[in-house]
Assembly symmetry: D2
Homo-oligomer: 292 residues x 4
């Protein structure tokens, strides 16, 4: 069989952009990590070394900075769409663009004499909360948006069980009806194409989804991380008709109750050893019936 070029793409990864909106003395920040990847007819670049069809990755970086000035950075889904459409519409050899953006959030520094939630006009501290993400794909079949979050670190100090599981010859884990449940959640939700076409309030949707994920994690009495994730995803789909599916990836960060018995002490769910590796890893997609 002949040896041929298979799927390929190229781009500029992790362009770190800070956009300051300074129309008034009260500045706002957009702090982003932008990665672009282009696909199209790039066979000659590989097979013959002919770069005539290749827009340099350096230009892709320039485009991020120039668009931050001309188009501005609104919600990351908007900025990603502007970039992806540009590459496909304006660069002849490009037939597909995949733009991924991470956003880091900043809080205003509170200052004397100001009410809560007000804060300084141009001094900020990074929030350290979860990272907001999006992936905007433009291709022959149109525009698709998958947004999400990562590193949303969650913990319940009770209200979590793990029992009634399958036991084989290599099983030593005891059942528990009260354990610590913790994870660093990654979520990726797909917006329905029809909703994207008619317009989504990206910021409101993000805040709503985040609130549902937190609420379901907190309120559901957990029989397993799988069940918590299912209820979290189901809650999102119930409340947001514009979301067609959601994928949740959740490491189970094990908190092992310290064995204090050798010292004549009990441990009524108070002292835990937080472990790094290994960790459970649960991956779940919740979707509407009939979705791929």
């Amino acid at each position: 069989m002949a040896i041929v070029l298979g799927p390929n793409r190229y781009g500029k990864a992790e362009t770190r952009l800070l956009r300051v909106v300074r129309d008034t003395a009260r500045h706002t920040l957009r702090d982003l990590n932008v990665s672009t990847a282009l696909s199209g007819d790039f066979a000659a670049a590989h097979v013959d070394g002919d770069q005539a069809h290749v827009l340099p990755t350096d230009t892709q970086k320039n485009t991020v900075f120039a668009f931050a000035r001309t188009v501005g950075v609104g919600e990351i889904e908007e900025f990603g769409t502007a970039l992806a459409r540009h590459f496909v519409d304006d660069v002849a050899p490009v037939t597909g663009a995949d733009v991924r953006i991470e956003e880091y959030t900043w809080d205003r520094i509170a200052t004397d004499g100001q009410g809560a939630g007000c804060g300084h006009d141009h001094a900020f501290t990074r929030s350290g909360r979860e990272i907001r993400t999006t992936e905007v794909v433009v291709g022959p079949d149109g525009l698709h948006v998958v947004s999400g979050l990562k590193d949303l670190v969650l913990l319940k100090s009770t209200g979590s069980e793990f029992a009634g599981f399958l036991v084989d010859q290599l099983t030593t884990l005891p059942e528990t009806h009260d354990r610590v449940l913790a994870t660093a959640l990654t979520a990726r939700w797909t917006y329905a194409d029809a909703a994207v076409d008619t317009g989504v309030d990206w910021a409101a949707a993000y805040a709503h989804i985040r609130a549902v994920l937190l609420d379901r994690f907190a309120e559901v009495h957990s029989l397993a991380l799988q069940q918590s994730l299912w209820e979290m995803g189901r809650g999102v789909l119930e409340e947001l008709p514009e979301v067609s599916s959601i994928e949740l990836v959740a490491p189970n960060i094990h908190h092992v109750a310290a064995d204090l018995g050798p010292f004549g002490l009990d441990n009524p769910g108070e002292v835990f050893h937080v472990t790094d590796r290994p960790y459970g890893l649960i991956e779940v997609t919740v979707q509407r019936d009939g979705e791929a």
Copy 2:
């Protein structure tokens, strides 16, 4: 000259402890990373391989977990002091102990129908704010406490200059009277021994120092990061008599204005490239006159 054993110590690093306080249905968390190091008469352990004086590092880990149950985890300075005193007082060959603790903070998950700041009884999300630290040293000359914070990420989008600097033949940096100033601050402040002896409100002092650092960073019009750090440190010493000195270590996270001139665009302080390396690094101690 003979070859001899010089300074030495040993311990257990990075014991990750979660302490849940569950006296009522409303739990609280203490999430710590504890490192202990012991010094004393350990020459035989090195030179002869005789371990009779060596309390295993595994025992040091056990001690952290056992004390979390028996003593409980109050403020990290208190927990560190309990551990350090135990090793020096109760383990004969040990003459010095250095206990370092990092604390990660968690926020209660907000739930429907609850006022702001209330939140769930036992479901939490990690705040991602800066890490609180302490180092408690017990030795022949008593007890010393150096507390601090790290990874407090700060940014001003205006109100920062850098001009009038020394220029030599290798200097190409242009002066600027309006730049982005950003850092990920590490601070370590020493409590006066007399204050430690009479008692410090550790939590209140931490909150106070954090507020002063943020306020001074925000309010001082910066002519250089050095000047901002000096004013931040000076503010702490002015407001907290129990602090004898403070050391600030601050990378200058460079935000370089994107050059959009080649595209016929100006850049009035709006679009910045956030860089990783290299970075400026400023190290400053502010102290009371007469302190070492």
Copy 3:
């Protein structure tokens, strides 16, 4: 539309295993990072919280350690196959298993009086070379093996060009006919199912593929990283009939020639600033005609 459970799986990630083979005084090491993921009929675990079909991830970890003793750790593809087959064959609800393994290599410490390549019987230093990887998947359609490597850091100090590329209004990159080309390569190659069935010499194949990748990177005069990767992948498929396709993921680690002009100095390809972010990212699959 009803809300339903979509694709899901769960497992234990990053079980760190050291297997010492000590049949003789001359020990050998296998230092692995093993992740397992199981799929099957786990709907009840999510929707009803019923764990009766769920083999705990803790058991999966136990299985890794037990098999390391009973089956032993040969080549990582063999160990992965044994684990994957066990989960599918012996655990009723499991219909698919995905076992991923990373291997870190160690060199014997050279000792006096020994010839090169001999070294100590039981003292080692970690090589720091690239990490060898495999992913073994067992499912309804049989067994599949995708092996690879990651973090193979490569650099050419000449013999690399980038010119004749597409120029748009946002392009500022100058052409170059002599640059530094550097990457940290990830490669993943798929073994043909027929070859897996009849038996592959995994260690020999790995060494052969690694040698071809290095040789092609070194010997091909590069007109672009895309071209180098194509030639590297093509070389592997030409020389190893048991490989059906290979995917190469290569960050372009930019080495920017320092501009010494302001100091009256030229820079004839001697002084480079190594940058972290952003970086180009090239992804290429080379395959046999007719392969998916």
Copy 4:
């Protein structure tokens, strides 16, 4: 007491430099991470915001690149000395300079028809071995050189004991006469000032010290990591009169024998769980009698 400026310094950290020596077709590489820190009369920069004495950190970066062209990069001790002397000698307000350099090593890619150890003229793969380091300090009392290495990962699969240790009420660790001993060594050795003045063969000294550390680790039957470190340090001082002291910092990377008893299996030193945290941490200085 008045509040005053204490110790302070500033510089540019982590300038990543690749220097290609291309005098002939057979290139050589120096791949460095350079950090500079300057001290002197910088009170006005802090207290008054007056930067007239401050050489920008950007200039320090420029200096690294310019010196790489004009002075060239020999051994890192030489390059560090050239930089440190320049800052102190040529920049009036500077009275002290601390230059720290890390070096990453590269191997030539082996090519067909070449003998071992020959390899390609200009194609390299990063070795991944330990990182070589130096810290060169120039101040009022002259020049001092402390060189070292870090991330030298070592393991013995037998020949290591830990027994006869101190037991208190919180000790549960069993004694062992055959364990795995592993560490990721950091070493820092101080060259005697007199040796620095008369000239040291830096490359030869580095190779010699590295060989002694490896040999002693391998050959000493270990009764504790402390003893191994003492013998390693003692070996260096015995063999290299130009070294006045050596500091060794060694995490004890615990390899815990997997408990296979519940499965009816023994574990004769064959299967180990490699743990991340917590870890033992041993810090030892070996010095000549009379040294500080």
